[in-house]
């Protein structure tokens, strides 16, 4: 099952890309990474938005939790008012969980395609779909600059790149520092478990993946670097979009709009009295009046 639905399609996709891209395996990994990221993009965006949003409203969440700890119904109502859904936090882990099999599958796929032992290359022959001319692709050109993609990077360049790009990605995905300071003041040092996790992930993940890259084939490290770079771009985009949304919300609040479920609801304008009673009412005004009536 695992081989049939995860590893084999990846192996064949990598081989196809390798063939199309002039037998350049680094390019094949790069394009493959972009494709994987595109497939998981909706989930990733949702996860990042949800994470950043939850982090930003963390003080409000904690205040509501504290205030309404004996009244769960009211707590849920208040959460809704600030646009927070507790299940979103759990759903936020989903993209990460989905990506883990992709990552492990890709690891196996790269091992098979690079085939550094007869057994692994022979395994590749049994996984290739009809229509792919494997004989014309072998041996896979695993050389790129100083690297042999089937072996570890002996000069530590890739592990350093993996760790640094992953750290940058974590920084991009974390809330701004001044925001955090405010939260500390409000929530206390240990009052924000999400913040604690993000903070520890910021350092742990890069170190961990940098360490893994010391032991992994360089081809997989290339995937990590590419994936992180795309993650950085994605994170910057989401942050910008969130900042714009935040400005909009602030502007709307100043103009008297309400925020329901995190969405801006514009105030309904008062009906304008026309100087003449005989004057024809515009269609829009009619609609608005009808709406107001219904509301009442």
């Amino acid at each position: 099952m695992w081989d049939q639905f995860v590893i084999n399609p990846m192996v064949n996709a990598l081989l196809l890309l390798y063939g199309f891209l002039g037998h350049n395996f680094v390019l094949a990994i790069a394009v493959f990474t972009i494709l994987v990221k595109l497939v998981t993009l909706p989930l990733n965006l949702k996860q990042q938005r949800s994470m950043l949003k939850t982090q930003e409203i963390q003080p409000e969440i904690q205040a509501i939790q504290k205030k309404y700890k004996d009244n769960p119904q009211k707590m849920q109502e208040k959460f809704k008012e600030i646009g927070y859904n507790p299940t979103d936090s759990l759903m936020g882990c989903l993209p990460m969980l989905i990506q883990m099999p992709v990552l492990i599958g890709l690891y196996r796929a790269i091992i098979f395609v690079l085939g550094t032992t007869p057994q692994s290359l022979f395994g590749l022959t049994q996984r290739v779909y009809p229509g792919i001319d494997l004989a014309s692709l072998l041996p896979i050109n695993s050389h790129f600059l100083w690297l042999n993609l089937g072996q570890t990077d002996p000069f530590y360049v890739l592990p350093v790149l993996v760790a640094s790009t992953m750290f940058l990605q974590q920084v991009v995905m974390s809330p701004k520092k001044d925001d955090k300071k405010k939260k500390k003041e409000k929530g206390g040092k240990d009052g924000n478990p999400m913040g604690g996790m993000t903070e520890s992930m910021k350092y742990t993940m890069p170190l961990m993946f940098g360490f893994f890259s010391l032991q992994f084939q360089a081809g997989l490290s290339v995937y990590f670097v590419m994936s992180n770079l795309i993650g950085i771009a994605q994170g910057l985009y989401v942050k910008r979009a969130m900042a714009e949304h935040k400005d909009e919300v602030a502007r709307a609040k100043r103009n008297g709009a309400k925020i329901i479920d995190g969405e801006i609801v514009e105030p309904i304008p008062e009906p304008v009295k026309l100087p003449s009673t005989t004057a024809k009412k515009s269609g829009n005004q009619k609609k608005k009046k009808k709406k107001n009536k219904n509301k009442k």
């Binding site: 883990m100 492990i104 690891y107 196996r108 091992i111 098979f112 550094t116 032992t117 007869p118 057994q119 692994s120 290359l121 022979f122 395994g123 022959t125 049994q126 494997l134 004989a135 014309s136 072998l138 041996p139 072996q151 570890t152 990077d153 002996p154 530590y156 592990p159 240990d190 478990p193 604690g196 996790m197 903070e199 520890s200 992930m201 350092y203 742990t204 993940m205 961990m208 360490f211 893994f212 010391l214 032991q215 084939q217």
Partner: protein, 379 residues
């Protein structure tokens, strides 16, 4: 007891979870493992099967010695080369340390008949950093080794001292062969090299269009290689000029075998072929159930083929064919797959089977195919 601060707790927890997923999910199979290697000196068989090399006396049915690899991450699957009581083999490299991405490959020479583990004659840790995949070739006092880091190395087989080294473009997986003072060797990218055994000087180099995973078969006049497109080529030993090419039904993987005017080879669809060594004319063709990555063993007019499913689960099969007609003489199934070319020791066909991490040596009667005995190798 001690308690951890919250961020540190998170870090430790995350580290354990991710390490667990990655290490259990990814494992190291494929990066550092291979089918077991098997060789013989006629009386004893030598098996390399991961963490150990074992010598088993077939006549006495006794484990002569086992050589455990001390480096925890190193593995050996190279069929040991045995000459004059010297057993030479190389490993797949051990990790250089937690923070060292370089691996250290060791080539070992041990002495037969010195107990278990046998006395180490020498260890060479500097000649190569790549896996030693093909069996080494001992010629007089020189041992020739092809490596996965694209080197052909000659060592003094008595001292382990490096004599010469030639760099090529791709890894070497096929066992070197020699004729007189010339070494013939293939690299995975389809190159064939003829080198002077004295100094490694390149006498000629020939390239076929497709990859070569196996080695070379030869007679006095021609040598034969099988490439990944399923073509089997015959070249003149003297110049490397191509004499003829024949096409198999699928990709050919294993080293062809020459015996009595016939070339025998297999393909990955489970076909076995016998062709005329002079002109490539097909004499017969047979088929087994499993893909074939091992070569046939030809002995006294019989071709023996060991096979098994690609994975290390399921049943294996040993079949004996009449080498001149291709007629099946007998066939035997085994409880575990057979991925390695059989050998003959003490008038028995000996194979090595693999079921997961469990390896066994099995001996069969050459005439009837009846299983004589089985020995489970120590883990």
């Amino acid at each position: 007891m001690f308690s951890l601060k919250r961020p540190l707790r998170w870090s430790v927890l995350l580290f354990i979870i991710f390490s667990g997923i990655l290490l259990t999910g990814c494992g190291t199979r494929g990066t550092n493992s291979n089918w077991p290697g098997l060789s013989t000196d006629g009386q004893t068989v030598y098996a390399a099967y991961g963490k150990r090399v074992a010598a088993y006396n077939v006549a006495e049915q006794k484990l002569e010695w086992q050589f455990p690899i001390t480096a925890s991450t190193a593995r050996i699957y190279t069929a040991p080369s045995v000459e004059d009581g010297r057993v030479i083999f190389g490993d797949y490299g051990a990790s250089g340390g937690m923070l060292n991405p370089k691996s250290i490959t060791t080539i070992y020479a041990v002495e037969n008949g010195t107990g278990s583990p046998p006395a180490t004659m020498w260890e060479n840790k500097t000649a190569t950093s790549g896996k030693v995949i093909p069996p080494p070739l001992q010629v007089d006092d020189t041992v020739i080794i092809g490596t996965n880091s694209n080197f052909i190395i000659a060592l003094d087989s008595i001292t382990g001292k490096e004599l010469w080294k030639v760099e090529v473009e791709e890894p070497i997986w096929g066992q070197p062969v020699h004729r007189g003072e010339v070494i013939y060797i293939t690299s995975v990218d389809g190159n064939i090299f003829a080198l002077d055994i004295e100094n490694g000087d390149k006498l000629w180099q020939k390239k076929v269009e497709f990859a070569i995973a196996g080695g070379i078969a030869m007679n006095d006049e021609l040598f034969y290689i099988a490439d990944f497109s399923g073509s089997v080529h015959a070249f003149l030993l003297s110049s490397g000029a191509e004499e003829w090419v024949v096409q198999a039904d699928a990709a050919t993987w294993a080293t062809p075998v020459y015996a009595d005017g016939t070339v025998y080879f297999t393909d990955i669809s489970g076909n076995i072929y016998a062709i005329d060594a002079q002109n490539g004319e097909r004499l017969w063709q047979q088929n087994v159930e499993h893909p074939l990555q091992s070569s046939p063993l030809i002995h006294d007019g019989v071709a023996y083929i060991a096979s098994g499913p690609e994975s290390d689960e399921g049943e294996g099969e040993l079949v004996a064919y009449d080498a001149s007609s291709g007629k099946v003489m007998w066939q035997q199934s085994t409880t575990a797959p057979l991925h390695t070319t059989p050998v003959i020791a003490d008038n028995a066909i000996v194979v090595i089977s693999q079921a997961g991490t469990s390896y066994s040596i099995l001996a069969f009667n050459m005439e009837t195919g009846t299983q004589k005995w089985q020995f489970l190798l120590p883990e």
